[in-house]
C-alpha cells in the first residue's frame, strides 16, 4: 500500500497548493522550498488559480499498471497562468479536440484506485476545457 506517499501530498494534489518566493515573487509548483528562479528560500504557501493553457498534449493508449481502467486518456503539459508548467491529465473532453494554447481549468478527480476495488482512491488535479458560460 502506498498510502503515506499520496496522503502527505493531498493539499498539492487536491487544490494545487504550491509556494511563492518571498524574494522574487516567482510562483512555484510543486513546492520545493528552494526557488528555482532565484535560488532563495521559498516556503510561503500559495494556492494556484487552476487556470492555464495547453502547452503540449498526447494520448496514452497503453497505460501503465494502475491506469488501465481509464485508458485511453490524454495527458498534457499545462502552463499555469502564474507561470509554472505542470504535467496533468485532461478530462471531460467529450468530443472536443485538444489544441496547443487551449484554455483549461483545474478540477479534482480520481487519478486511480489502489489494489483495484479494495484499495484507497487517489484523487488529484486534472484539467478540462474551460466550462463555457452563458452571458
Amino acid at each position: 500500500m502506498e498510502i503515506p506517499r499520496h496522503w502527505r501530498l493531498k493539499q498539492q494534489r487536491y487544490s494545487l497548493v504550491g509556494e511563492t518566493c518571498p524574494h522574487c515573487e516567482a510562483k512555484i509548483f510543486p513546492p520545493r522550498d528552494v526557488c528555482p528562479t532565484c535560488g532563495g528560500e521559498a516556503k510561503t504557501q500559495y494556492t494556484f488559480s487552476g487556470k492555464g493553457e495547453v502547452f503540449s498534449y498526447t494520448t496514452i493508449y497503453e497505460a501503465p499498471s494502475g491506469y488501465d481502467e481509464t485508458a485511453p486518456y490524454t495527458v498534457a503539459l499545462v502552463k499555469l497562468e502564474e507561470g509554472p508548467i505542470i504535467t496533468a491529465q485532461l478530462t471531460d473532453l467529450g468530443d472536443q479536440p485538444v489544441e496547443i494554447g487551449m484554455p483549461v481549468e483545474m478540477v479534482t478527480r480520481k487519478l486511480r484506485s489502489e489494489n483495484e476495488d479494495r484499495g484507497i482512491l487517489i484523487y488529484g488535479y486534472k484539467f478540462r476545457p474551460v466550462l463555457s458560460r452563458a452571458a
Binding site: 493531498k10 493539499q11 487536491y14 487544490s15 494556492t47 481502467e69 481509464t70 491529465q89 478530462t91 471531460d92 467529450g94 468530443d95 478540477v107 479534482t108 478527480r109 480520481k110 487519478l111 482512491l121 484523487y123 486534472k126 466550462l131 463555457s132 458560460r133 452563458a134
Partner: protein, 353 residues
C-alpha cells in the same frame, strides 16, 4: 397547530453561497429503451447525466462546493461543518466529507460526516447545518446533496438514475442571498426503496413508491409548512420538489396548488435524470440562478424510507451580484456530450471483469 411546529433557528440563517454540478455525459432514455424494449415504450425523461470515469460523489461535491465558495468568498477555515448527503459515497466506510473539506481548505477544525437518507440526505444535511449556524455554534456550514445514482441494467430506474447535485454554504441571514424562514420535516418508516449492504443496485417497491411514499410525505411536509407559515402556493414565485421522473413532481405540485410555471425552472429531471440526494437541491440552484430579490421559494425533498424536508426560502438583495460569480446550473446542462449504451456501460462499471 402547536406554536413550535416549524423548525426555526435562534439566529436567522440563510444561504450565503450555492453551487451546482452536473457531469458532461448524457445518455438519452431512448437509447436505453433501444437496448431493453426495442425502443417501443414511452420513456420517463429525455436523457440523464452520466459521470465520467474519473468522477464520483467526492469529486462532484468538491466542484459544487467550490462553486458555492465562489459565490460566497469566505475564508474556508471559518466553515465549521462539511456534510455530504448521498447514497453513492465512494467508500462504504471512510467519509466523503473529509475529502471535500480538505479540497476546499476547510480542514482540520471542522465537523465532517456523510449523511444517508436515500434522496433526502442532502436536505437533511441542510437542516442540520441550519441548526449549527442558527444556534451560534458555527458561523458557516457547508451542506451538500450529490449522487451518482445506480440503476440495475434493464430496471425502470435505469432510465432515470442520473448524476449531479448541489452544495450550500449556510451562514448568518444578514450575509445571505436567500434567507431560510423555516423548515418542516415529515418522516415515517415506509420501505419503498432500499439497498442492502454489499448490493450494487437498489430495490424498489414498484407502485408502492407512489402514493404512500412520495406523494404522502411531500404533501404532508409541504402542506404543514405552508399552513404554519400562513402561506399558500400563491405566495411563492417558485417551487421545487424531489423529482424521480417528470410526472411525479408535476402531480405533487398540482396537489399543493402550484402551477407549471412555478415549478418549470427547477424541474431538471427531464434533462439530467433523477440525481437522488442531489435532485431537489440542484433544482433549487437552477431557481436561484434566475431569482430576483423578494422571490419566495418552496423546496420539498423526498427520501425513501421515508421522509420529506420542506423549506420556506426568501431571496434577498444580495442575490443579483452573486449569481454570476460561478457557473450556473444551466451552463452545466448545456455542456453535453451524448454517449451510447456501450459507453454508458463502461462509464458506470457495469461490465463483469
Amino acid at each position: 397547530m402547536p406554536e413550535n411546529t416549524l423548525l426555526k433557528p435562534v439566529k436567522p440563517v440563510g444561504i450565503v453561497g450555492y453551487g451546482a454540478y452536473v457531469p458532461r455525459y448524457r445518455i438519452p432514455a431512448k437509447e436505453i429503451a433501444r437496448i431493453w424494449t426495442g425502443g417501443k415504450d414511452s420513456v420517463p425523461i429525455k436523457e440523464k447525466a452520466v459521470p465520467g470515469l474519473d468522477e464520483d460523489v467526492a469529486t462532484m461535491s468538491i466542484e459544487a462546493a467550490r462553486n458555492a465558495l465562489l459565490r460566497a468568498p469566505v475564508n474556508p477555515q471559518e466553515i465549521r461543518a462539511v456534510w455530504v448527503g448521498s447514497e453513492s459515497h465512494p467508500y462504504a466506510v471512510k467519509p466523503t466529507s473529509t475529502i471535500v473539506a480538505e479540497a476546499i481548505g476547510a480542514a482540520p477544525n471542522v465537523q465532517a460526516g456523510d449523511w444517508e437518507f436515500a434522496c433526502k440526505a442532502g436536505t437533511e444535511a441542510m437542516v442540520a447545518a441550519i441548526g449549527l449556524v442558527g444556534s451560534g455554534m458555527a458561523h458557516y456550514a457547508m451542506a451538500i446533496g450529490m449522487d451518482t445514482a445506480q440503476g440495475r441494467p434493464g430496471d425502470a430506474l435505469e432510465y432515470t438514475a442520473g448524476a449531479g447535485g448541489a452544495a450550500y454554504l449556510l451562514g448568518p441571514a444578514e450575509e445571505s442571498l436567500a434567507v431560510i424562514n423555516a423548515t418542516f420535516s415529515y418522516v415515517t418508516d415506509t420501505p419503498d426503496f432500499w439497498r442492502r449492504p454489499e448490493q450494487k443496485y437498489p430495490q424498489h417497491g414498484l407502485r408502492f413508491t407512489g402514493e404512500p411514499a412520495y406523494f404522502k410525505h411531500i404533501t404532508e411536509a409541504g402542506k404543514t409548512l405552508m399552513e404554519a407559515s400562513g402561506t399558500t402556493a400563491k405566495d411563492y414565485r417558485y417551487a421545487v420538489f424531489h423529482q424521480p421522473n417528470t410526472k411525479f413532481p408535476q402531480r405533487v405540485a398540482g396537489i399543493l396548488g402550484f402551477t407549471k410555471e412555478q415549478i418549470a425552472p427547477g424541474l431538471l429531471v427531464p434533462v439530467i435524470g433523477n440525481t437522488y440526494a442531489g435532485a431537489a437541491v440542484i433544482g433549487l440552484t437552477a431557481i436561484l440562478d434566475i431569482a430576483e430579490p423578494g422571490d419566495r421559494i418552496l423546496m420539498v425533498s423526498f427520501g425513501s424510507g421515508a421522509g420529506s424536508d420542506a423549506f420556506d426560502i426568501l431571496v434577498t438583495e444580495a442575490i443579483k451580484e452573486r449569481q454570476g460569480r460561478a457557473p450556473k446550473t444551466q451552463d452545466y446542462i448545456a455542456r453535453r456530450t451524448e454517449i451510447d449504451y456501450g459507453t454508458y456501460v463502461r462509464f458506470r462499471d457495469k461490465l463483469a471483469k
